[in-house]
Amino acid sequence: MNALLRLTNVQKAFGENQVLRGIDLEVARGEMVCLIGASGSGKSTLLRTINLLEPIDDGEIRLDGVDISEPGLDPQPVRKRIGLVFQSYNLFPHMTAMDNVMLAPRRLKGLSKADLAEPVTALFERFGLADRMGHYPDQLSGGQQQRVAIIRALAMQPEVLLFDEITSALDPELVAEVLDVLRAVRAEGITMILATHEMGFARELADKVCFLDRGQILEAGTPEQLFDAPKEARTRQFLSQVL
């Protein structure tokens, strides 16, 4: 099986703080991988290195066989293929929801607002936000903002979508609507990597779950293997705290 994304011995330090200590990970096309682990275990940093927002210190990241972590490589073409959704939404506050979604396709694919009106409207409709397209981010609830952020990432039609604890900043009653959107994205067959604290969701949808501990993938397997029969003591300890 040829992996779409292959990480080998990925290392990353911020100053003295070694955040990623040799991550090996393979993600096949269409697969959904969940990263679980305590805060500070390196989940967010790992996602940011895959999107090339953080350059790695050593090791390599291959996308479709091509080394995208090569120092000096232009990150722009890679980022078009790998989307990232943030915990804090990070919508552009001076633009309407629709303009947030259209900005990247307009600039990078040379499409006009008229070209995009139809597909973008369809995306908003599919995620139940058709009546919110003209709203500014501060007129939307947290859950709505996060759904717009997901639409914004989807509009570039990326091959891989990364989600960085996207429900952690939401009030509990808003988490469900965002998870519903994730289910819909999952149904499209887009390759997804999620850093998440939603264990029930990970168990329901993930093909593979990885437990990160102090910058290493301590244990990985199917949801059944990891949640029902964890091999490592630290995995058991973590799960007993969060489940």
């Binding site: 990247a104 600039r107 990432a153």
Partner: protein, 279 residues
């Protein structure tokens, strides 16, 4: 009219109490203001030199004769202000962007922008006006390039653009890093990120601060009188000599205040609104 909605009900105890408080503080404020004004009106004329001051600064006859001329001269202040302002905005924006350049090949631009803002913010405005306003026409340039209007304005533009650049740069730095991350993560170039994501937000944040600079510029136009242009301050000086009376300066002050007070209030209002939005 009968209306049983809760809004139409009698004011509650707290509202009655607060209305009473407001009325009381209003009464106290009015009384104390009247007392201060009365004290000034009675005490100042008792000063030994009051009659002389009244004659030379508040002379109604001189005021009436010179005020139209002052207003006319003020048109020149407005003209200088009007052509300097857009140039200040453009130069300030360009310098601010240059200071943010990361590419090593363009480092000279960044260095130049840094030196430029340091130099022109570090000098008194009047000194720059003297150096440029007298220095460049001294090169013996042909007309109209020896005009003090041009070089005096240039001095103002250079100084104010340096301040505007710093204000804009502080605005750029105030935009949270996560906005840059979000734009880059979509694949946008650094240039597009600056142009579509960072700058629009930064410029909006610094409108009030720039408005204060606009008010300051409005006043500093008067400094150009030192290199030649007969604008309002210089015209007031001419009238002063003519009538041996200082009243024209008071007239000029009034004209400035008519413009600057509303502008300052407006800047304060913008600042206030901005702060409320950010909460």
């Amino acid at each position: 009219m009968t209306d049983n909605s809760p809004k139409a009900a009698l004011p509650g105890r707290r509202a009655v109490y607060e209305a009473e408080l407001r009325k009381r503080s209003m009464r106290i404020a009015v009384l104390s203001t009247l007392a201060v004004v009365a004290a000034i009106a009675i005490l100042v004329p008792l000063a030994p030199g009051w009659d002389a001051v009244k004659r030379s600064f508040f002379n109604g006859g001189v005021f009436a004769k010179t005020f139209p001329g002052l207003l006319n001269a003020f048109l020149l202040d407005i003209a200088i202000f009007a052509w300097s302002l857009p140039l200040i905005a453009i130069v300030g924006l360009l310098v601010a962007i240059c200071r943010d350049i990361q590419r090593p090949a363009l480092y000279p631009l960044r260095l130049f922008a840094m030196i430029y803002t340091d130099v022109f913010r570090g000098l008194p405005v009047i000194l720059v006006i003297y150096l440029i306003g007298f220095g460049i026409p001294g090169l013996g340039l042909p007309r109209p390039w020896n005009s003090p209007y041009i070089w005096g304005s240039l001095a103002l533009i250079l100084v104010y653009a340096a301040y505007v650049a710093e204000v804009i740069r502080s605005g750029i730095e105030s935009i949270h890093q996560s906005q840059r991350s979000a734009a880059l993560s979509l694949g946008l170039s650094t240039t597009d990120t600056m142009r579509y994501v960072i700058l629009p937000q930064a410029l909006r944040n610094v409108v009030p601060a720039n408005m204060n600079l606009v008010v300051a510029l409005q006043k500093d136009v008067a400094l150009l009188s030192f290199v030649g242009p007969v604008e309002i301050f210089r015209q007031a000086g001419v009238y002063k000599s003519l009538y041996a009376n200082f009243t024209p300066y008071v007239g000029a002050a009034i004209i400035f205040l008519i413009i600057t007070i509303p502008a300052t209030r407006y800047a304060d209002y913008l600042m206030h609104k901005r702060r409320r939005q950010q909460q």
